[in-house]
Symmetry: C3
Subunit: 365 residues, 3 copies
């Protein structure tokens, strides 16, 4: 049941003919680049898949992403300002459009054709901004970005943030696919009874591009947050569903009053907490973690939402400490084998999917 764990900075990395770094992550897929709410009147500088990108929203509201450098003397364009037509460099004022073409060189009559920078394919949908790299630098996307309708579903309210991790992105996959760590990592927050979490019945299903982990806890006590957010009457039937996709994870947890609904049915009622977890490599050794938490309180909606988001933050802070400490130690103990335990079924299937995608670029996700 052992799986090879790619250790960035230790395992081999190569660049392909296009200059894109191979070996650390699949290239032919969409990744989350930003929350929509991040792109207002200031450019956002962000390294994604080891490339320096500037994201900005033009005057017409369209989102754009180009290389974060001016083609003249390499000042990051993110040091400049956004204008209606594009982004203007903060050194000598060169103006670039969303295709990376220079439109104006102040004081110079002619703009040479080569005055341009690389532009990226981006799409904004469901309050998320997606970006495509591709194993060939100029290849077009071969599929549409993932949909996440929860963000546009009126029965939910949500909020979120982006965290930076000094750890490779797959360690965050491992963590999210294995909720058994709740008992030990999250003792102070949502953990509670470690044995209960470790021994909960777990079902793992997977296909070529996803892993689905389901855990049910019927006839159990409602945790305090649930009681505050929803008028439960007594014992509850709880579920935890984790859906892994290479670009992001969807973690849907919730509960109904005991015996009142089929918790295997996606149309079940009750109280819901739906987490979106967009995990995008920054480099082979660091990651961006774009997350939101959506919920459906029946009362004090904004207050409950704020509370749920705040508790989520506290939990993620705990995970970050553990994952970054884990990665730092993986580097110190590079070459030392790891052993697998029962909780690794889900994480290992996800790692195999990523391995297959890296080995077979340009296959539609």
């Amino acid at each position: 049941m052992s799986v090879s764990i790619y250790i960035p900075g230790v395992s081999a990395e190569v660049k392909n003919d296009s200059g894109r770094q191979q070996g650390a992550y699949p290239l032919d897929m969409w990744y989350v680049a930003a929350h929509s709410k991040e792109l207002k009147d200031q450019p956002v500088a962000r390294t994604l898949l080891n490339e320096a990108v500037v994201l900005f929203r033009k005057g017409d509201g369209q989102v754009a992403a180009v290389e974060d450098r001016c083609c003249h003397r390499h000042l990051p364009l993110s040091n400049g300002i956004i204008e209606d037509q594009g982004i203007r460099c903060g050194y000598h004022g060169l103006l670039f459009d969303e295709a990376g073409q220079c439109l104006e060189i102040p004081g110079q009559a002619k703009v040479p054709r080569k005055a341009r920078v690389h532009a990226y394919h981006v799409r904004e949908q469901n309050h998320l901004v997606w970006i495509w790299f591709g194993s060939e630098v100029d290849s077009a996307p071969n599929c549409e970005p993932p949909v996440y309708p929860v963000h546009d579903d009126p029965q939910y309210v949500f909020d979120g943030d982006v965290y930076h991790y000094d750890a490779p992105y797959q360690l965050i996959h491992d963590n999210l696919l294995d909720l058994s760590h709740l008992g030990y990592v999250h003792l102070k927050t949502i953990g509670g009874n470690a044995k209960l979490h470790m021994n909960a019945e777990m079902k793992v299903e997977s296909d070529e591009r996803s892993v689905h982990v389901v855990r049910h806890m019927p006839n159990s006590d409602a945790p305090p947050t649930y009681l505050e957010a929803y008028p439960f009457k007594g014992k509850i039937d709880r579920w935890q569903e984790i859906l892994f996709k290479p670009s992001h994870l969807e973690i849907w947890t919730g509960a109904v009053d005991h015996g009142t609904d089929d918790i295997s049915d996606p149309n079940r009622g009750g109280f819901h907490m739906r987490g979106f977890h967009g995990i995008t490599p920054e480099t082979s050794t660091s990651a961006h973690y774009f997350w939101t938490m959506a919920t459906n309180p029946t009362q004090n909606v904004e207050e409950i939402k704020a509370k749920v988001v705040e508790q989520t933050e506290l939990t993620f802070d705990e995970d970050k400490v553990v994952i970054e400490a884990q990665y730092a130690n993986m580097k110190r103990f590079a070459g030392t084998p790891m052993i697998d335990i029962h909780v690794d079924v889900g994480p290992n299937r996800a790692r195999r999917i990523i391995e297959q995608m890296k080995a077979n670029p340009e296959v539609t996700v």
Copy 2:
């Protein structure tokens, strides 16, 4: 019109037979090592051209510079104290003179001849301390250091500082030789009208060891600082003159009442701001920037001087942000070509001079 831009840390560097690093900067010339006012009763530790130097002023007022290490166990001599005869190590008390010779080993009768450290040629003139490295470690200077009589001219008052740059020194040359960046970098301070600066008529002259850029703005409005410092009557004729030398730049700006004097004549009257910009490599990837600003206010002399120096600082802070961001990005985009634009005439000539000096060491500057 393209010019090869040496990117330290990326382009090749070699050491010559003397152990001096070649390729990053000319060695056979004088560089600014310090402002005179920096050398009081404490030693100054400073890395210059990748060598660790301690500068100090002896009891007789003479300035000296030696390797910043004790020959015994390598404690930096800058951790020690200055005495009349030289500098004494702060570990076991060895005393060194300005020639690097150990004069005393406390508790030991005999001082071995080899108890010495390398000493540097230094000269103090015009309130500046100059240092000579040479492409051969023990070579004597083949010329005198540059003069800068402005600092000793009673019609001017001046002050200055030294800035540290996490960027190679030639990026500061580029920046100073091209005042067209005022419109974009210095929007908040001295910039004002970007188009005006970008479109001002510019004359560039150069010889083997200097570049001279002159821009005239006749019959224009006086900026607020000028009005406060000098009793202008209305419209003014302004000039900007940039003189690049390999060791430093002199930037002379100013104005007379419109039509009252020939602003091409160095003896022109009016209000003057004269900047000295000594750019000395710390390493191939970092630099010291020794600057002063001299001016000739007709009233409230100390107040105007303080104000002009303060505004100069604000401007240089803005340049530092841009240049350091540019260099950080040059490293990320190493290998990606740059394109030249109209403003690069002056900077590119300066780069050619530096290239020639590196290729032909020991030619008098």
Copy 3:
């Protein structure tokens, strides 16, 4: 009289067949790993001889040391919690005993035999915790750890701390074996008259595994600390004795009323300050410095002890500044020869002992 000084990070280092790093320090000897007082209810993470170790005190009071990683996914065990039977990982709850064996994998019936981490030989005695590495990873100690009865002697009171040094451990040996630096490094604290310290008569004796430096200052004035701690009547006879061993130094200083006792006799009376200095490599370029200071005040015992320990701290702070500056400079001037002076007799003998031990592993210390 010159001695080759090993410069970590510059001189060659190799790993032996067991994977242990050779060349930087002897492996077949006991090193101080901790003060006993450090091991309470929390694990202590400490890198020792380039290995990541977690130290902890089990429920029965026994001290244990194992590799600081969980065998599952490499989280440092020091992020976990101590239980009666051992230490439990803070990620998925694996429990390890003092032999490094995993005792429990929560939620999994069977614990595989290979679920274990490396354990270290440790001994606690005289309020110190000692650790053995060995040039072979699984070799047993071939001797007992050093004794230090001063810590258990009722005539003394003591306290101490552990300092971290960004410098290789032998530079601390050099410093402690040569008290002549008191005059220059400790001008502000215990130094006083530089010439006196530099010229004091010094006797150096050594054997295969120790160096003994003795300095006597008969009929001298009592320093203020001595006067406060002990009822001296007038002039005093002072001694300084430095005993170097590869694992630690013992520095015994003190004084009797002039002419009242033989200060060469270890049973001499008077006022005593007895320093313990356990110097343990963290890596080849950094060190842990475990120190205590024991004294025998006749009055205001706790107050005098606190004062003596506080002054010791101030002195060690000064040494730390010097030694770290020295090492930083040694790296800058790597390859530049050092010269020896009269004070280096003791330090050089100690360096020869360490060289011999590195060349001949597995010889009893």
